[in-house]
């Protein structure tokens, strides 16, 4: 599904050049749950931005579902982001004055999905995160955990193949964080690819593969399915 080869990202500001990614190579199959870990400044967020089409690499190649990012216009990238990708951010990025319903509707405004089909999709997405009672509540009135669940519903509403989560538990207490991770895990169980950026080991271990980044390069890339099976057995 995702194939990157010798991926590089260089930021040039005036006379200073910073190499954030120094040649990263890996591939991710459909249905994988991958955590990208690394210390602050390691390049993990830059990598996530490139993987999620929010930024372009300055070197190497990136193929998404077999198609090279180099061949796609900004408009096509926006279309793929809308159709095939869902986003969950550390700071939720909800529009606080809009209701839960209106927030979840936002990606549909930019999609090809007919207006008549939208309501069911929105309600189903909100139900899937257990917030049907808050459907007409303003997002600003929700708790942190609820906000992140709305953000997940918003990420799900266009039925994307892959969900990108950037520190999704970073602003949550441990209980809410656990709930959010369980939702992401269940989405992965249903066949969606989940790519998570985190610096918390406990959160990263929800994945079945952890890629560690340091100084813009891969430090390690390990499958940890055993952890996940153990957690499932505990349930």
């Amino acid at each position: 599904m995702i194939e990157i080869n010798n991926l590089k990202k260089e930021y040039i500001e005036e006379d200073t050049s910073t190499l954030a990614l120094r040649g990263i190579t890996f591939s991710i199959e459909q249905g994988e749950f991958v955590s990208i870990m690394g210390p602050s400044g390691s390049g993990k967020s830059t990598l996530l931005h490139i993987l999620s089409f929010l930024d372009r690499p300055t070197g190497g190649s990136y193929k998404f579902q077999g198609k090279s990012i180099d061949d796609m216009t900004d408009k096509e990238l926006a279309h793929v982001r809308n159709k095939d990708m869902g986003f969950v951010f550390q700071s939720f990025n909800l529009l606080s004055r809009l209701t839960v319903y209106d927030n979840v509707e936002i990606p549909l405004l930019y999609s090809d999905i007919a207006v008549s089909k939208r309501k069911k999709l929105i309600v189903d997405a909100i139900k899937s995160v257990g917030l049907e009672e808050k459907i007409y509540t303003e997002a600003g009135r929700l708790s942190g955990g609820q906000k992140q669940r709305v953000a997940i519903a918003r990420a799900l509403v266009t039925d994307p193949n892959v969900i990108f989560a950037d520190e999704p538990t970073g602003n949550l207490d441990s209980q809410s964080g656990l709930q959010v991770m369980e939702i992401l895990e269940s989405l992965n169980d249903k066949g969606r690819t989940v790519i998570l950026v985190t610096h918390e080991t406990q959160t990263a271990e929800f994945a079945d593969r952890i890629i560690k980044i340091k100084d813009g390069m891969i430090e390690s890339d390990k499958a940890i399915i055993a952890n996940r099976n153990h957690r499932k057995n505990l349930k």
């Binding site: 930024d55 408009k75 279309h79 982001r81 951010f89 529009l95 930019y110």
Partner: protein, 417 residues
């Protein structure tokens, strides 16, 4: 993004900040209302002036001393302090012999202090013949009578006065007829009071007018033998332009003029006067609207300013929308619709307020100052202009902030604090 969705998103954003939206619109509201009010007043004034000129009849021709302006507008020589004595009794006599002319009525004008008892007022007076009342459409008197041909020939000390002057000099309880008033120390007898609401030649307000035999005016008050104007009434069976050419021919003959460029008189028909006045009032209306439109520009800049602030405040929202699939054009469209909605709504409110004020002006002038004869005019062109200008200013002043919003990098926008 569907237009309906963009429209819904934009209206939602605007209604979330109602007070800000209202204050932002205020500049456009004031600008459009000003344009509407000034265009309406200009149109009303134009209708009023042209209506008064039209009321004198299309068969009247005005002959004035001084060279013609050859199509350019210039004020009469007399108003520039220049005394031109080219029009004499001989000219009136020659014109009256023309078969295409019914009347040739000479007029002189001056100012004098009118005194009756303890009351005094400085007024304009007109000296003319008895035909003056007919050609000037002033033959109706509310009291008494107009002076006769023999009054003119005998240089009788009689005057016909306007209704407002009658009220000023005599008050409401004294009948002015046969009362003696003093003009520049000369005693004259009031024999008639003009009917209220009448209009003199070329829209002269007759409320405070004094009309006297031209012989009296020239000998007792002015000491001249020339005329300020000759009003000619054309025979209706002749074309006015033909009559104009006959007048030209006659006066050139009388004044021994062979070179047409050296004419010492100028002739204006009603159509000439309407054309000049029409262009003057149109220019005035245009300038009034141009001055008012300055406030529109100020209002537009206010909208641009608020939209720029809004783009900055909503940077994270822009980042989010782009992350979930919005293109540059989707964002541009949303902000542009917001801007156009603000200005268009401001335009509609401005037109409504402008119409209300125009109606109020009409109500006040017709009820409290009926003698003005104010006419109601609310040009549809002003409404169309108002709506178009408000919509266009929404685009003009909204495009820069909207483009700025559309060009935002999603990552930078999402990170914006």
């Amino acid at each position: 993004m569907l237009f309906n969705d963009a429209f819904k998103t934009s209206t939602r954003s605007l209604t979330h900040g109602k007070m800000r939206s209202i204050l932002t619109m205020l500049g456009i509201v004031i600008g459009i209302a000003s344009v509407i009010i000034l265009m309406s007043i200009g149109q009303s004034a134009q209708d009023l002036i042209l209506g008064k000129v039209q009321s004198i009849g299309s068969d009247l021709i005005i002959v004035m001393p001084g060279a013609p302006s050859n199509g350019k507008f210039s004020s009469p020589a007399s108003s520039q302090g220049i005394v031109i004595t080219s029009l004499k009794q001989k000219d009136v006599d020659s014109l009256e012999r023309e078969p295409s002319i019914v009347f040739a009525v000479p007029e002189v004008r001056g100012q004098a202090e009118a005194v009756y008892g303890n009351n005094n007022v400085t007024v304009g007076f007109t000296g003319s013949t008895s035909d003056f009342f007919q050609v000037s459409n002033l033959s109706k008197v509310s009291n008494g009578q107009i002076f006769s041909k023999s009054d003119v020939e005998s240089e009788n000390h009689v005057v016909v006065i306007g209704p407002d002057l009658a009220k000023t000099l005599f008050g409401p309880n004294v009948n002015p007829i046969d009362k003696i008033i003093h003009l520049k120390g000369v005693s004259v007898r009031v024999i008639g009071v003009l009917e209220k609401g009448g209009t003199g030649a070329f829209g002269v307000d007759i409320g405070n007018l004094i009309v006297m035999p031209i012989t009296l005016a020239q000998k007792q008050f002015l000491g001249t033998t020339h005329f300020n104007v000759i009003i000619v009434q054309a025979n209706s069976t002749y074309d006015v332009n033909f009559v104009k050419s006959r007048i030209t021919f006659t006066l050139r003959q009388n004044h021994s003029i062979t070179d047409p460029n050296k004419d010492d008189f100028n002739i204006q028909t009603q159509a000439d006067i309407l054309a000049i006045l029409g262009s003057i009032t149109s220019i005035l209306t245009f300038f009034l609207a141009a001055i008012a439109s300055i406030s529109l520009v100020v209002g537009g800049i206010g909208i641009m300013n608020i939209m720029l602030v809004s783009v900055t405040e909503r940077t994270r929202e822009i980042g989010l929308r782009k992350a979930v699939g919005a293109t540059d054009n989707d964002i541009l469209q949303q902000f542009l619709i917001e801007s156009v909605l603000l200005t268009f709504a401001g335009g509609v409110i401005g037109i409504t307020i402008g119409a209300g004020i125009v109606g109020l002006i009409y109500f006040v002038l017709t009820n409290f100052f009926p003698s003005v004869g104010w006419v109601f005019a609310f040009p549809i062109s002003a409404v169309i202009l108002g709506l178009t200008v408000s919509g266009v200013s929404g685009i003009a002043f909204g495009i820069y902030p909207a483009r700025k919003a559309g060009k935002k990098n999603p990552i930078d926008a999402l990170r914006y604090e």
